[in-house]
Symmetry: C2
Subunit: 110 residues, 2 copies
DNA sequence: ACAATATGCAACCTAATGGTTGCATATAGC
DNA sequence: GCTATATGCAACCATTAGGTTGCATATTGT
């Protein structure tokens, strides 16, 4: 569900992780876990939340694990928000049209 | 912070509320609280979370309370995601340019 | 083989979340 | 004024989240 993606994004530490990944600062669990204001295990848990929401993917390479961001999931989240905005705009348009139809004075000059 | 907005959107019931508001189904606390699969008080709590994230606003009118969606906050959330995507695209472009510069064979035909 | 590095797994704790119920209060309509 | 409606407020409860610590394990480099 969409909610899970937003929920995963609903935490400062996790947004920081996504931001780091998007801008290319570090791409292993270890490097990403630095300077997050929490232990490595704490950071690992946050990464797991992002994995569960399919916002990132983990791939083991030797003894380290590469982390890659899933841009597609971000795009879907953005599309969902855009759809809400679209519905709202449509509703406003419909309301405006209705008002102009029932109250002709509103479409004439003031 | 941005995280709070995403966090507020990270729940099915709250997404339903936002969707109803955007599409114009109901605009009072009472009407919005119907068919959410929880009690009125439960729904009220979820609405309060959206208020705290400034995704909606409440205005008392007589004995009922009007609920309006704050499209601006949705736009900001969307802009934040778009920015992440932009950074990622830039990173990819930079990487591509770097590879092409250091390894000229990659820009020639195969 | 051994030490260092990168990570995983699990138990544990506290605070926050999501939901309930019960009761109080203000407005509307007859 | 009385009744119904729309809402608020607070206590309570179970589950989840966010974070810690301790220990196990797999690679890597010498």
């Amino acid at each position: 569900m969409q909610a899970q993606v937003f929920k995963a994004m609903g935490d400062p530490a996790r947004l920081t992780l996504l931001s780091r990944l998007a801008s290319g600062e570090g791409h292993t669990i270890g490097s990403l876990s630095e300077n997050l204001g929490m232990s490595r295990q704490g950071a690992r848990k946050q990464l797991q939340v992002l994995v569960a929401a399919e916002l990132i993917e983990l791939h083991k390479v030797g003894r380290e694990t590469e982390v890659t961001i899933n841009i597609g999931q971000l795009q879907q989240a953005r599309a969902f928000i855009r759809e809400l905005e679209r519905q709202w705009d449509q509703r406003l348009s419909a309301l405006k049209a209705f008002v102009e139809q029932t109250d002709p004075s509103s479409e004439a000059d003031g």
